[in-house]
Symmetry: C2
DNA sequence: GTCTATAGGGCGATAGAC
DNA sequence: GTCTATCGCCCTATAGAC
């Protein structure tokens, strides 16, 4: 019986520290951008010595890539609610609801993604060309079927998707601006409810789904 | 008669070089973010020695602030078209048209603004609290009057403004993503026309203005 | 697996000749 | 007003003791 950690224990430590570092990194990358973020600050937020970060993630870019992938995965699965819906009112309504909730719960991830795309997607370009393109084609097809079935007005499915992304992510990416215009205070539960209702009302009405 | 430049000539040189530097800076800040941008790269893009930048703009932050102010001014004036309109169909339609055109013509400025706000507006917070807040209150009031006059559906004016900003600026800030989904090619004239039409159709219908 | 110390490189900013 | 050379700082990344 060795006193050294068995592999499973070692893996637990690794998983725990990785999660801790990833959470700190998401926050720091969101607040300072890739170039403005420093490994020292991420280490401080995570409560670890800087050298430990390089033990778990070889380079700053590796760490950054993992943060970007995380939010991407979350968004991809948010669209599952559309697939089983009987029509656009339920499907797109639920998708808006899900995306708004993610903007509320993961604003930092959304900001890191926005920053990455704005700078030309130097790190996740391959995801845009494969996973995101397939995802978009599939969901545009679903919307087109709803149009063909007369369940909503004739709109361009891709531009509708852009509008859904833009409007929902705005509450995360421009959350600071919204907070400032709200008297410097974050939106309350009631205000978030009103925001979701406004977005759903205008878009669902705009596409003739209600 | 001195051979040295007279004050007016000197001012011309200053104005020319400032414009040259500001254009280069907008491009570099948009592509790399504030932290990722370097004075050396901005100088290279402008075709000037790095030291000259510091002659015209004392610090990197001074230069950055001017770039952010530029796009802000452009956006503020884009809303003039709303004020003289007889109703929401014309007013908000024209505002969407103007904002979409700015996204097309000044995508870099839009990205720099987005980045600044995402990082908590460290440099232009005072503008958000004064100029933007007043602007927003005024336009929300105009929209509320249209609602009271029965010219459009009852929607929350502020959330409508957020949707207008989000949707139009998305075509600049996420232009790279849109281009990738468009087969790696920028939107053509025809595609931009379709984008504008889609946005106007869904929003104007969504607020009951058409 | 953890941490201190430091190497090595690039940055913003400036001095000073022209 | 322009430009070269350089200073001083802070960054990422790593070596090596524990």
């Amino acid at each position: 019986m060795s006193t050294a950690p068995r592999p499973s224990r070692r893996n637990e430590i690794r998983a725990q520290n990785e999660t801790l570092i990833l959470q700190a990194a998401e926050k720091v990358f969101a607040e300072a951008g890739f170039g403005g973020a420093t490994m020292q600050l991420i280490a401080d937020v995570a409560g670890l010595p800087k050298a430990n970060l390089h033990y778990y993630f070889a380079t700053k870019e590796d760490l950054y890539r993992r943060v970007v992938q995380n939010i991407f995965e979350i968004w991809l699965h948010a669209a599952d609610v559309m697939d089983d819906a009987p029509g656009p009112a339920e499907g797109i309504g639920a998708y808006i609801e899900a995306k708004m909730e993610i903007s509320r719960r993961h604003p930092d991830g959304s900001k890191v993604w926005a920053s990455e795309v704005m700078h030309g997607a130097p790190v996740i370009q391959d995801y845009l060309e494969t996973t995101l393109r397939d995802w978009t084609t599939g969901r545009a097809g679903l919307i087109q079927r709803w149009i063909d079935e007369g369940k909503m007005a004739q709109v361009d499915p891709e531009h509708l998707l852009y509008m859904l992304w833009a409007t929902t992510q705005h509450y995360a990416d421009f959350g600071h601006q919204i907070e400032t215009l709200n008297g410097g205070k974050p939106l309350t539960d009631t205000q978030w409810k009103a925001a979701k209702a406004s977005v759903k009302q205008i878009i669902l009405r705009g596409i003739g789904a209600i």
